[in-house]
């Protein structure tokens, strides 16, 4: 798609787990996927299609059984600090304030304290939590906690943001609002994003490209380019092109025998 070499290059990466019975379970078929700089890619598919495994392989948290992942041309050999992670649960430390939670990556990496605090304040404002820096996670709503998690993922200014069903635990209203927020944050921060989701709507609304995965073993069924103009707003969801794209992707899953939590 682009002439420039991809930032993230997944080359025939597959994953086979050893089950407790000793049986080999193929979680991920050899997958190839190239993602350009500042591209927003959604991976959509039912439970058990290996999309979370693929994300962890890219993050260097899970070693592929075959193939490799290259980031910026260099093979991934383990976790790396140019990646920010957002999980389905916010995974905040309940004994730390919002500010101290956002500062965790700075603390681990050893960024200069004063600059880190300034950046934390900026990020907290960016995700719409100005004034909440000294609150504890238990004083926040689910959506607010996930905003903290996004600010934390951006703390060390990683080039890549990997999000594993980040809004899966939120109610539908909050979820749509957070989609809009995420696009705003993404445009402001110029990251390359891979977002894993169950929701076809969400995948299409956010991404430049949607990777459609099917389960057992996890494999890429198709990659769909989303041609919708940016910036995208609530009106985008009513756009006939949006509706067509969602319907087109949904058609891929209708042939599947087991339908699981596909929105």
């Amino acid at each position: 798609m682009t002439a420039a070499p991809p930032l993230i290059d997944v080359r025939a990466a597959g994953k086979t787990f050893r089950a407790r019975s000793g049986e080999a379970v193929r979680a991920l078929e050899a997958i190839s996927l190239a993602i350009g700089e500042r591209e927003f890619v959604s991976i959509v598919g039912p439970s058990g299609c290996g999309k979370s495994t693929l994300l962890r392989v890219v993050a260097g948290l899970v070693e592929p059984s075959g193939g490799e992942v290259r980031i910026g041309g260099a093979p991934v050999r383990g976790p790396r600090r140019d990646i920010g992670l957002v999980f389905q649960d916010p995974v905040l430390l309940p004994w730390r304030t919002v500010q101290k939670n956002v500062l965790v990556p700075a603390e681990v990496i050893g960024l200069p304290a004063a600059a880190a605090r300034r950046r934390a304040a900026e990020l907290i404002a960016l995700v719409g939590l100005a004034g909440f820096a000294d609150k504890y996670p238990m004083e926040l709503s689910g959506g607010m906690r996930q905003r903290v998690a996004i600010a934390r993922a951006l703390m060390h200014d990683p080039a890549i943001l990997l999000m594993d069903e980040p809004f899966g635990a939120l109610d539908a209203m909050t979820r749509e609002a957070m989609n809009g927020e995420l696009l705003r944050v993404w445009q402001a921060s110029e990251k390359t994003v891979i977002l894993v989701t169950h929701s076809i709507d969400e995948a299409v609304f956010l991404a430049d490209r949607v990777v459609v995965m099917t389960p057992r073993p996890g494999a890429v069924r198709e990659t769909v380019a989303v041609g919708l103009p940016r910036p995208r707003t609530t009106a985008t969801r009513a756009d006939p092109a949006f509706v067509r794209a969602v319907a087109g992707i949904r058609a891929h899953f209708e042939s599947l025998p087991v339908m699981e939590t596909l929105a």
Binding site: P79, F87, V91, L93, V104, P105, E107, V108, Y136, H156
Partner: protein, 258 residues
């Protein structure tokens, strides 16, 4: 507010005291076996006036607190080491489990022979007895960590020490305090048992003295002092818990009370 909340307990207490005063004579129980409340109150006042309460209380308190501090801090360190070093765990844990099964008070006579009739032997017993509840709870605390918290730290390439400092240790604090709650009461038991075996001072020694003299009123008075000491120390640990571990309270049932 507070008065209304505690009123039922106060009423129960008053009823118990009244029953204690009139009950034994009414049922013809000898005052030598169960002295009525006013006799015990007089004995307590008498001990207080002679300075016996303070003198011996301070000794037992010091033994218990020293044992509590030594035993529980050693336990937290041991738990941290054992849970972080699988080899150490395999080498040491079976023996700790074995020691755990041994009734620790059985060590008291031996420790008194080794360390003498003074404070050291009581502190040692108290230390040993406070060690285990904190060890077991801390080990659970250091290992019961949400997998994603660890994955987050791993994604940042955090060192083992950073993971411990930022995640494992604070995560373990509620568990550690659950152990401390038990250990503080155990440590008083340890000090007392040590004094029973042989001591020059302390509430345990005082209790035995009254026992030898068949002064049952005096014994009851010492028991009351011990109960107050136990309640106050346990309350302090719980207050500390509430203060420090604000994200995980000692007892949610209690918070729901009006």
């Amino acid at each position: 507010m507070t008065l209304r909340r505690h009123a039922p307990a106060l009423v129960t207490g008053a009823l118990l005291l009244a029953a204690w005063e009139v009950g034994p004579p009414a049922f013809g129980v000898s005052e030598l076996l169960i002295p009525k409340m006013s006799i015990v109150a007089r004995a307590l006042w008498d001990q207080w006036a002679r300075g016996l309460v303070m003198e011996n209380l301070l000794v037992t308190l010091w033994e218990a607190l020293a044992g509590f501090a030594l035993g529980s801090s050693a336990a937290v360190v041991a738990a941290a080491l054992i849970t972080r070093a699988p080899l150490l765990e395999r080498a040491v844990l079976p023996y700790l489990v074995g020691l755990q099964a041994l009734p620790k008070v059985a060590l008291a006579p031996l420790l008194v022979v080794w360390l003498g009739f003074d404070l050291a032997s009581k502190i040692a017993i108290s230390t040993v007895i406070a060690f285990f509840p904190v060890l077991i709870n801390s080990m659970i605390g250091f290992t019961t960590v949400e997998a994603e918290k660890l994955e987050l730290m791993r994604s940042l390439v955090a060192s083992e020490w950073q993971v411990f400092r930022i995640v494992r240790f604070p995560n373990a604090l509620p568990f550690i305090f659950a152990g401390l709650n038990v250990a503080i009461v155990f440590s008083i038991t340890g000090a007392l048992v040590g004094e029973f075996v042989g001591a020059k001072k302390g509430l345990g020694m005082l209790l035995l003295q009254f026992n030898f003299n068949m002064d049952i009123g005096g014994m009851f008075a010492v028991l009351i002092v011990l109960a107050v000491m136990g309640v106050v120390l346990h309350g302090l640990v719980r207050a500390l818990h509430r203060r420090l571990i604000f994200w995980s309270q000692p007892d949610d049932l209690e918070r729901r009370a009006p």
